[in-house]
Symmetry: C2
Subunit: 199 residues, 2 copies
């Protein structure tokens, strides 16, 4: 016995593939959309179609925008001498939200993984090495996640960039803002202790 | 400083209005879509546009489908003598998933609420009374939620239908399948005890 019509079931199945939504919450979300057709569903359908039609990867840094060259790479105000290497577009957005970085980015799109056979080419590491030479980069900041995969990838990139002589740096590790020692993992505390600064 | 381009931020803001998604998870969902543009985002944009353009309320029962008359009301196989009154389209879908009901529905679209000034007209209760007369209905099953609002609304409908002489019934209350007494609320146990059946 059918419950929802085919098109609606198809929409629920697609929504259920989004992270954070399972089959039940996708059904609930679609019902919400169906109840608020003019107020929510139509604007969402339009916005999604618009982004779906226009979104593309920046051919220089890998950021996602509605141009072949993203606003950051296209901006004359962003320093060309400093490149910040991030794993993912979400990390680039997080860096931009935090503010304070005035250089340009290079988005890897993941981390090296022998298991999933993600090699340096898939992460555009040769492209990064080429950019360092072509754009006259002085400093490469490795802003990869503080995970095993992130740090392995950072290590590989450091070796790949060694011949260029570019200055390499990494985000500081330590106690996060508002962090309470009692709730921090041992690795963070050890790293913060090793990197302690004189007052 | 901008993080994501305007269209993408607009999409994130719309996604964040879905139940079950907050600003952070909406951002994550949109990033997932942006990464899987051809595999997930385009099909979702198409499915959403299709449902958004075609979905409408059934003019008879209030179910949502892509026709002015929903497949259940249009089906010659569904009994005309039995009407099941539900609060919401999601409840109708749940009844259909459970199977076993061969009659037709009447979707109220909510419950009576003095606070939110939702009166009988907003819930199409006069329309329900008219249907009972016009469609030769023998039995009205009140399948409203076992909440204070649902039961208040059920009580109001029962009074409104009393002059028609139609037989009224309600879903049985009791221990749910797989339910353990230790985890059930007192109200459910009391209701199950009061409605105990002879073996």
């Amino acid at each position: 016995m059918a419950d929802a019509p085919g098109d609606i079931e198809a929409l629920i199945a697609l929504m259920a593939r989004l992270p954070g939504l399972g089959p039940r919450s996708a059904r609930r979300a679609v019902l919400h959309l169906l109840r608020k057709r003019s107020g929510v569903m139509e604007p969402l359908a339009l916005a999604l179609a618009k982004v779906s039609a226009s979104a593309r990867d920046c051919r220089i840094c890998g950021n996602i925008s509605d141009h072949d060259t993203c606003p950051i790479c296209a901006s004359a105000k962003r320093e060309t001498g400093v490149l910040c290497v991030v794993e993912d577009v979400s990390d680039l957005w997080a860096m931009e939200r935090a503010g304070g970085f005035t250089g340009r980015y290079h988005v890897l799109g993941g981390t090296l993984s022998a298991l999933e056979s993600i090699g340096p080419e898939a992460l555009r590491i040769p492209h990064l090495v080429a950019r360092v030479g072509q754009e006259g980069v002085r400093e490469v900041i490795l802003a990869l996640n503080a995970t095993v995969e992130g740090q392995t990838t950072a290590h590989y990139i450091a070796e790949a960039l060694a011949p260029t002589g570019v200055q390499l740096s990494a985000l500081a590790q330590g106690v996060p803002m508002g962090g309470e020692l009692d709730y921090l993992d041992d690795g963070t505390i050890s790293a913060a202790l090793a990197a302690r600064r004189r007052l």
